[in-house]
């Protein structure tokens, strides 16, 4: 059996039985990444020497019977807004030119302690603002399935790396869908965990009340395994909470008969492509055949999700990104005085999309307009969250598309304020706004590009989500084989 295109679980088993070594696996993925990256552009930093050294150390530990964990020696990638000590951190932006992280993010430490091998940092939309990984200062990441299409965003590099078998799994960040949507576009599995389940210490903030570290894998089982290592209480993140569960694989393979899944009637009324509707219907049928009860519930608050998300995320971004001025780190501009220096650094350092959101965020927070914009958005967020909690009292999870369509052509939505974001954010934003976990898995019909099906659950219900998602995944794979 070839070393290529295996799941994390299969690789871990192979390392355990010494079918091949971590060094062989790492070399295989690294060489593939080095060969393909000039075109695919999934990575912005590849760390060959470090990766090979970590792989050799892993093999040595294993030979002595001292493997650190089940995933000791598994190679992975990290989105370039997550801090890795000694490696550049760019957030896809010129303004952080030359910046090298002085510490590891807590989630990176967790995987380092588990013995995983870091391959490199992946490309992203600038400061996580975007849906295509087109706004990065390093150029766009292509979709590995069809290079004409975007890889999705903002964690497009991470999704592309996993889809192209250049990493066994990858970390991303999800504020309003930035893990789920690129995972869908690239045909991978993307998990946005419960807000506070994974430490954000070392994740560069975009909108801290919405940001989470997310996980991209090739299959649901792998997602459950990786999440088990990532979810951990961290005193360095004041919002981090202890997850009540430890083993997220324990419900995999269990029956889901008797569970209740909600379909929100308003999402079915959106403009969705035929592929997405087909995927939604197929999902409903699979779950019904498994004995799941499908209930249709109305959630009118969901139609405000985009307005709420855009307002709050822009407001928080406007505040968060005020720290980037080239004075203490990053790209410093020259000028006659402090004002000139700050203006030049930020104007030359930030891209168009970032500027747009900073400006709107400042507007939303302004004295004249904060009542109409920001405070209204806060109230609407509370209402939506309460409404979602209400739905999740009547159902174990909510089924909805990840995106209104498959990936779009590169350049097609470069500046389309409402086309690009309205539909996609409307489907991903609710989970973000309410702090709920959500997983996206791919559905492929014929030769078309994959679309994403999303399951959203109660807080800290990742195990149940994995169980449901695996059922769908197996059925989709069966259908694709026929």
């Amino acid at each position: 059996m070839s070393i290529a295109n295996r799941s994390l679980w299969q690789h871990a088993k192979a390392l355990e039985t010494k079918e091949y070594s971590s060094l062989e696996l790492t070399l295989s993925l690294m060489e593939k990444a080095e060969k393909e990256n000039p075109d695919l552009n999934a990575y912005v930093t590849l760390c060959r020497e470090r990766a090979l050294m970590e792989a050799k150390n892993s093999d040595k530990r294993r030979s002595l019977g001292n493997a650190l964990s089940f995933i000791d020696g598994i190679p992975y990638a990290v989105k370039d807004n997550i801090s890795v000590c000694g490696l550049p951190l760019s957030c896809g932006s010129r303004i952080l030119e030359g910046y090298v992280s002085p510490y590891d993010a807590s989630v990176v430490s967790a995987f380092s302690n588990a013995g995983c091998v870091l391959l490199g940092k992946t490309n992203m939309d600038e400061f996580a603002m975007g849906t295509g990984t087109e706004s990065s200062c390093f150029g766009r990441t292509k979709n590995p399935i069809d290079a004409r299409y975007v890889a999705g965003g903002s964690s497009g590099g991470s999704a592309a790396a996993v889809a192209a078998d250049q990493a066994v799994f990858a970390l991303g960040s999800d504020t309003g869908g930035s893990v789920r949507q690129p995972a869908a576009y690239c045909g991978t599995v993307g998990l946005r965990p419960t807000y506070s389940a994974i430490s954000r210490y070392g994740l560069v903030g975009f909108a801290p009340s919405l940001d989470t570290v997310g996980i991209i894998t090739g299959c649901v089982r792998d997602s459950a395994i990786v999440f088990g290592f990532a979810a951990s209480y961290d005193a360095a993140d004041a919002t981090c909470r202890r997850h009540p569960e430890k083993d997220f694989t324990k419900e995999l393979g269990n029956g889901v008969k008797g569970m209740r899944i909600a379909l929100i009637t308003q999402t079915e009324e959106l403009f969705l492509t035929d592929d997405v509707r087909k995927a939604l219907s197929a999902s409903e049928k699979v779950l019904a055949d498994c004995g799941v009860k499908i209930v249709r519930l109305s959630l009118p608050e969901i139609s405000n999700a985009y307005a709420v998300y855009y307002t709050l995320s822009s407001a928080e971004a406007s505040s968060n990104l005020s720290r980037f001025d080239g004075v203490r780190y990053g790209r410093r501009a020259t000028g006659s005085d402090i004002d000139e220096i700050l203006l030049k650094a930020r104007s030359e350092g930030f891209g168009e999309e970032v500027k747009r959101r900073i400006l709107f965020g400042a507007l939303a927070l302004s004295k004249e307009h904060r009542g109409t914009l920001y405070e209204s958005a806060l109230r609407a967020r509370a209402k939506l969250s309460l409404a979602l909690d209400g739905v999740l009292e009547e159902a174990d999870a909510i089924l909805l598309p990840t995106s209104s369509s498959c990936a779009y052509l590169a350049g097609e939505r470069k500046h389309a304020l409402f086309d690009a974001y309205t539909m996609d954010d409307l489907l991903c934003a609710p989970a973000s706004l309410a702090g709920l976990p959500a997983i996206s898995l791919p559905y492929v019909s014929g030769n078309s590009m994959p679309v994403g099906i999303q399951l959203m659950g109660r807080r800290f219900s990742e195990s149940a989500l994995f169980s449901l998602a695996e059922k769908l995944e197996k059925a989709f794979q069966e259908e694709a084989r026929v």
Binding site: V327, R332, L378, R381
Partner: protein, 108 residues
């Protein structure tokens, strides 16, 4: 919803120069117009969508983390990693980050 009472934004409602100065951005004339149009569109969209949420009696407080965070104890620790911070500074002088002058020594 009384459509007449929904705030309708126009370009006149926004002082793009003041906003840009506040967030320390210098915009070209083309950028200014483009961003102004976008802000107008978005503000009107949000204003219309969230009209019902302007009700001040509605709850404004929300925590995605649902409270119950565990806060660590305050333990004073000596910070000994200044060199790592300085390594990223564009300009270092005598062990400090050299920053552009802000005060004008009282001349103005």
């Amino acid at each position: 919803m009384n459509e007449e009472s929904i705030k309708k934004f126009t370009a006149a409602d926004f002082d793009a120069d003041a906003l840009a100065e506040q967030v320390r951005l210098r915009l070209s004339d083309v950028e200014k117009q483009s961003f102004l149009d976008d802000m107008c569109d978005m503000a009107n969209y949000v204003s219309e969508r969230l009209f019902e949420s302007r009700d001040g009696s509605l709850v404004i407080g929300f925590s995605a983390a649902k409270n119950a965070s565990e806060l660590r104890e305050d333990e004073p620790k000596l910070f000994e990693r200044a060199e790592e911070i300085l390594a990223n500074a564009p300009h270092v002088k005598d062990g400090y980050i050299a920053v552009p002058q802000i005060m004008d020594n009282g001349e103005n």
